[in-house]
Assembly symmetry: C2
Homo-oligomer: 244 residues x 2
């Protein structure tokens, strides 16, 4: 299953305007305005300085715009992985907590881990895909962890439904342990024309003391599809293969 | 979501021909012919004596007909729960193992438990629905444990996608432990117009030494649906309710 572009010209548009360039522009403008996100539960709220920033956040698909009573101000709500990626990988966002104190790297890491036990693995998976220029969004609509788009969702349908499995912790997030879950997930992916991509994170016994641990984590990528005897005989479809 | 009958007249047909009567006719004919099923892995193979029996097995939805080289003989393949229900609850089927030895109740019980750890709970769920005249089939097509029909699948679409959860064993079959699995299962149920029915089996510390334990197991029934704020306000839909 290849990318399903939305209408004519979308593929050309995407090619002419690579995601790497959009993200790099976003990075520049956020650095320029010395942007600070505000920690609020499991979200990070970002007040946007210019219309250019709003546009770039939308084009790069980070967070989602939220409506407030302040008519002349635009806020964005970022997820934990998104915010940490902008903070730690792109180094274009600072994050403040209560009392407007800027959080240190370790404070932020420990806070997010405390909010969600699986945060280090989810962050590794998110980072793995984002650094390869996939657009990564929440998969809750389809009952998976993330969905991945080749380019902006306005141009192309999402290609992968992503599940993050944690190695060596007894599979912390508890998916795909039984056949019925496999069948359920595959049937759903089939009906919405996505391929199931399983990212298995192996922490390689490195622990999770600081974000630098992430560099030692490894990611095993597997796409999983139903094996159909007839189809496989005629198309030489491969049931499970490495990706990216 | 009520029953979705297949075409006009189906509901009347079902009413005129209740499932309880069909099953009772099947029971009589199997007793009359002293029927024996042959244990073969996780299946029980049943050689059918008369065309009437073939028809009744099909109408009552027990097992599925299998094609063999013997043109004049019809065989049916029964699942473990189906066969045990016919054997133990309806007392209309004997089961033989290798060497044509008739299995005792305990032998059969231990054999089936050894084939699938969750057998006692699945059997309890199957029996629970069958004794209430639901037609129960494998749910593997939808990634659930069973699907339940109000009457024969030729007359009505299946109403419930059934998941069996085991209480007190750390949820042996490992489903619905995380939100993403809930979302995945509900989204799939929605797209195939079924209601998710979760049967939670509580063994009440009785153990699983013999089939008589089943009588002490209790079954908690829950239907699970997505809660939609708009819909709930207008239709007074209840998110989770007792069933049957």
């Amino acid at each position: 299953m290849g990318p399903r572009w939305k209408g004519k010209g979308s593929e050309a548009k995407a090619l002419a305007d690579p995601m790497s360039k959009i993200v790099s522009q976003l990075k520049s403008t956020l650095i320029q305005s010395d942007s600070h996100g505000l920690l609020s539960g499991c979200s990070i709220l970002l007040e946007v300085e210019t219309e250019e920033q709003t546009e770039l956040l939308n084009r790069a698909c980070f967070g989602r715009p939220i409506v407030t009573a302040q008519k002349d101000k635009q806020w964005f709500q970022l997820g934990m992985e998104e915010a940490f990626y902008l903070y730690y990988n792109l180094k274009c966002l600072k994050i403040v907590g209560e009392g407007k104190c800027t959080k240190t790297e370790d404070e932020l890491w420990n806070y997010m881990k405390s909010k969600r036990e699986t945060f280090p693995d989810f962050l590794k998976a998110y980072t793995h895909l984002r650094t390869r220029n996939w657009v990564v969004r929440s998969g809750s609509q389809y009952g998976v962890d993330f969905i991945a788009y080749r380019h902006h969702p306005a141009l192309v349908h999402s290609e992968y439904a992503v599940l993050v499995l944690s190695e060596g912790q007894g599979n912390a997030n508890g998916r795909l342990r039984v056949w019925s879950d496999f069948q359920c997930t595959l049937r759903l992916c089939g009906s919405v024309a996505k391929t199931l991509l399983v990212l298995r994170i192996d922490r390689n016994s490195v622990g999770e003391d600081s974000p630098s641990c992430l560099e030692s984590y490894s990611v095993e990528e597997r796409t999983i599809t139903r094996w159909s005897p007839e189809q496989s005989r005629e198309d030489k479809t491969i049931a499970s293969s490495q990706l990216l």
